[in-house]
Every structure is written in C-alpha cells, then in structure tokens.
Amino acid sequence: MYQLDFSVLNEYLPAIMDGLVMTIKISIMSIILGSIMGVAGALCRISKSFVLRSIGNVYVEWIRNTPLLIQILFIYFGLGVFFNLTPMTSSVLALSFFSGAYITEIIRAGIQSIHRGQREAALSIGMTDWQVMRLIILPQAIKRILPPLAGQFITLIKDSSLVSVIAVTDLTYVAKNIVTITFRAFEVWLAIAAFYFILSFGLSLAVRKLEERLAESD
C-alpha cells in the first residue's frame, strides 16, 4: 500500500522555493507587460482608424482562439529557429501576448459600458476627446474593469505553469523533477497545488481590498 511520506517536501524545500520565486517573477513581468498590451489593444479596438481597429481585432481573435501551450511552444521552438529567444523571454512574451488579448477585451468592455451621455455631456462643455477619456471615462471604467482584470491576473499565475514544458525552472518544473526522483506524486502535487492556491488567493484578496477602497467613492 502507498505510504504517505510528506518529508520529501522538507528535503526539497529550497528547490521548491526557487521555483516559487521564478513563478512569481514570470507572473509579475507578464502581468505588467500584458496590461500594457491590453491598454494598447483596447485603444486600437475603439479607435476611429480602420487600420488600428483591424490590428486590434486580429490580435484578440488570434490569441483567444489558439491554446496557450501552442503559443508557448510556437514562440520558443518555432520562432526560436529564426531568433535567439531564451526560455525566460519566450515565456514572458507568450504569457504577455496571451493575457494582453483578454485584458484588451476587459478594458474595452469597461470603457464602452460607461453611458454615452457621460461623453456627450463632457464634449458639450468643451472638453477634448483625450480629456474626456482621462477625466471622465477612465476613472469610472476602472471600477468596472478591476474585478475581471483581477480574475485574468489570477488565471495568468495558474497558466504560468505551462512554461515548464520549455524547461523554465518554475514551480511546476521543480515539482515534476522532484516527482521523477522520489516518485511521491500525491504529496508533491498536493503541495504544489497549495502553493499556487496561496499565490492566486493572495492576489484575489489584495484586489478585493483595492475594490473596497475604490468603492468608497460611490
């Protein structure tokens, strides 16, 4: 019978911590870069220019309709034939492009959900398009954007586990390695799931606090 033995976690704790740090690093970089791409994408999608709108549409549809794993493998092994991309660079690029597409949609939906009357009233008192966006639309839109945005960030932390297939030494890669050495699949995977839970839930709590503070202005 399989005897549970959690002591292997103790033995490999330094390696697990290194993996955790790598996952956090990749997640933070991808969240930041993804948000930048998301804002750019959203502005493209609501822009008056046909070219910009098309670029935004193609970007979103292409990313949303292909699996993340395929995107990671394509960037590292596919584009890797032509460019010299390190696994770290490929992971962050893939995760940023991926989350950027979803963030684009979240921001766009948030902006477009603000009543037209707001924009019309602002324009009628003489504000420029840019002032309208900056002073009226965006502050209100942010409150609507924050919950789904947080959800996307949490998804990103979990999706980052896929970069283990291109030998990035993140939490999942370290776990796979430990399992192949110790054969303790149950204990190791349970512990790793707990670590991802702590990361994601921690982020979720932080965002909830932020939402409460923003809601004070309501």
């Binding site: 019978m1 890797g80 297939v165 192949t180 050495i181």
Partner: protein
C-alpha cells in the same frame, strides 16, 4: 403504523438536517472547501484499501482478456509513431509477443516518460515497456522483470561544438545539456555534469529540438536513440556512440505481484532464445527496414 410514524419522524428530521447542512454549505464556502478536501482524502484511503487482492495479477489479466501496456513514444527505435500515427517499434513487438504468450490482447497507452511510473503506481497500466532501465531507485517503487535488452548512454553533439570525445569535454560552464526528464540520462547527466547546465524536457523529441535550434550543445540519451537521431539530422549533429554507462532495460510491474514478474521472466527467457527475437532485433536495430515508415524529422 408505529413504524410509519417513527419513519416520518426520522425522515423529517433527516431532511431538516440536510436542509440546514445544505444552507450552511451554500453560505459558507469554507465548509465547501473542507468538504472537497475530506472527499479527496476519503477517496485516497479507499483507493489504498483496494490493494488487497484475492486473485493473482496474472489471473486478473487473463480474466480481463487484455494487458494495458504503458509506453512513451519518441524513443527510437523502441517506441515510435509511424506516418499514420500507429505505435511501432521494438518494445511494441516485445509487448505483442508478451500478450500472445499470456493469451491476452495488448492495449497501449502513451504517456510522457516521467509519467510512466506514477501511472503504474496508480494502476492506470498493467506493465510498462518503454526502454526503461532497471535502477535501484526505481526498484523501490516498482518491480522489474529480468533484463530484455542491454544498452548504455551516448552523446549526440551539436556540430558547432566539435571534437568531443568523452563527456568531460562537454562539462564546461555555459554549456547546456538537454535530456528527457525522468530517464536515466537525466539522472546520469545531473550527477555527472558539474559545470554545464542540464535542462530537462518532457520527451527526447523536445530535447533533440533544443539541440537542433542551437540552444543545447548536446543531448545525452541511450545509444539506439542517439544513432538514429544523428542519422535523421546528420547536417546539424554528430554522435559519440561509445556508451559511457551500461543499462539493463526491464519490463516494469506494480509492486507486490511476484507471480506476474515470474511469468514475464519466463517469457523474456523464452523470447531471447527464439527465432522471433533475432528477426525482430535485426529489423529494428540492424537493417532498419522501418526507416521510411516513420516520418523523418527534417
């Protein structure tokens, strides 16, 4: 009458408790999480209890009528996918001969190599035939048959890194050695290389791809794989085929099935002395008549 009254009483009580429990579960998500975790632990305990068998593994197989063989494609020429996606290879032929000997059908299940032993432990497969080396570490968790093939580790080197004669030549800082995660190549490389970086991939195919893209200086794997991969890509690679380890390949079986191991050992002894063995061995390793069946990686 009395029974009915008692029943109504109890049923009503139970329903009330269930409703309250349901209400609590709806409201308090902490209880939901605890419930799911309790379920997981319960299921694991149950799975553990299912280990007590009255019949032997061999009888169970014969009753089932089939043996589920776990393998990991990508290890040339032991297990590969041909142009139609069908599994072919030396191990495949060995498995089919084993099935014939036991009088059962053979069903193959493909896993990543590092997932094979967990699959065996979780009883998802009956045996593992995947060019797997017999090691003491693995013997702690699974049982092996007698050796059915002898092999050794060799090196596949990037042509941009010439004049490698022994593995020490590769062990320089900044060099990346690619291996398939969980294999003895992985364990050997991790132990041996002190200066070079060892990168582990799911499957030798990705490790080879890393080499072809110029991101790794060498792949460590067993002689047959190195020889064939080199032939497939001799524009970018060269091989150092003199093995620097010796590996005995065995068929892996879940622990606690000595009769199954004995049965398989009988088969291995018989097979190695048979005509079939020589024919199969020459087909996969010497003449390599299967070359055009398998898609070339160019």
């Amino acid at each position: 009458m009395m029974v009915l009254k008692l029943w109504n009483n109890y049923a009503g009580n139970i329903l009330l408790h269930l409703k309250t429990l349901g209400g609590l579960l709806m409201k308090n998500w902490v209880k939901k999480v605890a419930g799911v975790m309790a379920l997981c632990i319960f299921a694991t305990a149950m799975a553990g209890c299912a280990g007590t068998k009255k019949e032997t593994a061999v009888d169970a197989l014969k009753k089932k009528g089939k043996i589920v063989v776990g393998t990991a494609t990508g290890y040339y020429p032991f297990e590969m996918a041909d142009k139609n996606g069908k599994l072919v290879g030396y191990d495949i032929d060995v498995a089919k001969a084993l099935g014939k000997e036991l009088g059962v059908e053979v069903e193959f299940q493909n896993y990543a190599f590092s997932g094979l032993i967990p699959a065996l432990q979780a009883k998802k497969v009956d045996v593992v035939i995947a060019g797997m080396t017999i090691t003491d570490k693995r013997k702690e968790v699974v049982d092996f048959s007698d050796s059915y093939f002898t092999s050794g580790q060799a090196m596949l080197v990037n042509k941009n890194y010439p004049n490698v004669k022994k593995w020490e030549d590769l062990d320089k800082p900044g060099n990346v050695i690619a291996v398939s995660m969980g294999t003895t190549a992985d364990q050997t490389a991790t132990k041996m290389f002190k200066n070079a970086e060892v990168k582990k991939f799911e499957g030798s195919a990705l490790a080879g791809l890393e080499l072809l893209n110029g991101n790794a200086v060498a792949v460590i794997h067993e002689v047959p794989w190195v020889a064939i991969y080199n032939k497939m890509h001799d524009d970018k690679t060269y091989a150092v085929l003199e093995p620097f380890t010796t590996e005995e390949l065995g068929i892996a079986v879940p622990k606690g099935n000595p009769e199954l191991v004995a049965e398989i050992n009988k088969f291995v002894k018989k097979y190695k002395a048979s005509e079939d063995y020589k024919k199969t061995h020459d087909y996969w390793f010497v003449d390599m008549k299967w070359w055009d069946m398998v898609p070339a990686k160019k």
